[in-house]
């Protein structure tokens, strides 16, 4: 849904909050993906 923002602060608070959550998900996701990628390496 397209949310309406009346101030720049509202907009930044919303987008930055979502982006920070995505950053955390990315950190976890990239770690798991690395384990998947290297899971069958023979060392």
């Amino acid at each position: 849904m397209h949310q309406v923002f009346y101030t720049l602060q509202d907009f930044m608070t919303h987008t930055e909050s979502v982006t920070y959550l995505l950053v955390i998900a990315t950190l976890v996701g990239m770690t798991l993906f690395w384990l998947f990628l290297t899971g069958k390496d023979e060392d």
């Binding site: 995505l22 990315t26 996701g29």
Partner: protein, 390 residues
């Protein structure tokens, strides 16, 4: 001991030569039209659409797909991954030819090509991103020429000069990485000036990062693709070292490409979030954006990873085609499809067949030069006089 075979003498009446002859002939005719009739004679470019196919394909795609040079030489000479050494010369050659052809294409694209040296020699626009791109590309083309020159010198028997240039390898590699980082990202920065023209899904303040990261993906994928094609068509030129290292290169670069693609996917999603552009995903442009993001970023990332896990060379090689197409699609989307998206349909740009013809002509020049060099110079094998000299 590796042994280089010279290959049998091949007839000049091959299918490749026949196609090359026709394409080059047509290209020369189109070149005549371009330089006698001007841009309007062969292009659909206009004031609304001054950047068309030649910029999006020949320049943006050409520079991105030539990134294999700095990616491979940095891996080998800066990060010490010596097991990929045999990939360096083919990658440097591809990069050198790629940048040389970018320069050639620019001569077709700008209205008055004889004024190309002006920004460097007459009137420097030091605050312009385009000035930085031009300066970097010109410098990096020179660097690539020097990096490539030892192969030519070995072929010509210029031992002293060759040994001198080889001593500069690390310095040249560092220059190459610095210059590439600058201009690969700056090609994206060019679009920062047009937030109202580029669709919000493709426009982002992160666009320089997108362009830089995709250049790494393009470089890694192009090395895999090029290695595959070299094995198919020039296997008789390869020595044992190249044949032996080829699988390691495919797996190693496939793994790297998979991880970089995953990171790129994450940054792209963050880009949507930071602009709060989620609602655009439900539009037609949004569907096309998802095709690019899921079909040409997420899918190749997963397929590369699967190829590495199940040790499937075939899967990684086919995925490299998908990844390269993805980078080309991205550049087309940014420069053509999503650019001027608010203009009425009759004002939108679509390339004329002559533009496409000249682009194919330029690619064909690259293929002919690549084949000429690879079949003569020590690119896919080590010269007998310089074995283990790296």
């Amino acid at each position: 001991m590796s042994q280089v075979t010279t290959g049998e003498q091949r007839s000049i009446f091959s299918l490749f030569n026949f196609i090359a002859f026709i394409v080059l002939g047509l290209g020369i005719y189109l070149t005549y039209l371009r330089f006698t009739g001007g841009l309007a004679a062969v292009t659909n470019l206009s004031d609304y659409n001054p950047w068309g196919l030649w910029i999006s394909f020949d320049l943006l795609c050409g520079v991105a797909l030539a990134a294999g040079g700095y990616v491979t030489s940095a891996s080998v000479y800066l990060f010490g991954m010596k097991k990929y050494h045999s990939a360096v010369r083919p990658a440097i050659l591809t990069a050198f030819l790629g940048y040389a052809l970018v320069f050639l294409a620019i001569n077709y694209d700008v209205g008055r090509p004889w004024r190309l040296p002006y920004p460097l020699l007459v009137q420097q626009g030091t605050t312009s991103v385009l000035f930085e791109v031009g300066l970097c590309v010109a410098t990096y083309l020179t660097i690539l020429f020097i990096e490539f020159s030892p192969a030519a010198m070995e072929w010509l028997g210029l031992k002293k000069a060759r040994n001198l240039v080889v001593k500069l390898t690390i310095l040249l590699t560092i220059f190459g990485v610095v210059l590439s980082t600058m201009h690969q990202s700056s090609l994206g920065s060019l679009f920062l000036i047009a937030p109202s023209k580029l669709h919000p899904l493709w426009y982002s303040s992160y666009i320089p990062i997108y362009f830089f990261v995709t250049s790494i993906i393009a470089g890694l994928s192009m090395v895999i693709l090029e290695s595959t094609l070299s094995h198919r068509f020039f296997a008789y030129k390869m020595d044992e070292t190249h044949l032996k290292e080829a699988n390691d290169i495919t797996f190693g670069f496939g793994k790297a490409a998979s991880y970089v693609l995953a990171g790129y996917f994450a940054v792209k999603v963050m880009g949507i979030s930071s602009g709060n552009n989620w609602h655009y995903l439900k539009t037609e442009y949004g569907t096309w954006y998802l095709v690019e993001l899921l079909g040409f970023v997420a899918l190749p990332s997963f397929l590369y990873a699967m190829g590495v896990r199940i040790k499937s060379l075939g899967l990684i090689r086919w995925t490299s085609v998908l990844a390269v197409l993805g980078v080309i699609l991205n550049r087309f989307n940014v420069c053509l499809v999503a650019f001027n998206w608010q203009l009425p349909p009759d004002e939108r740009y679509f390339p004329r067949w002559t533009e496409i013809g000249i682009s194919i002509f330029i690619v064909m020049i690259g293929l002919v030069l690549y084949r000429f060099i690879v079949t003569r110079m020590p690119i896919l094998y080590e010269h007998p006089d310089y074995k283990d000299a790296h």
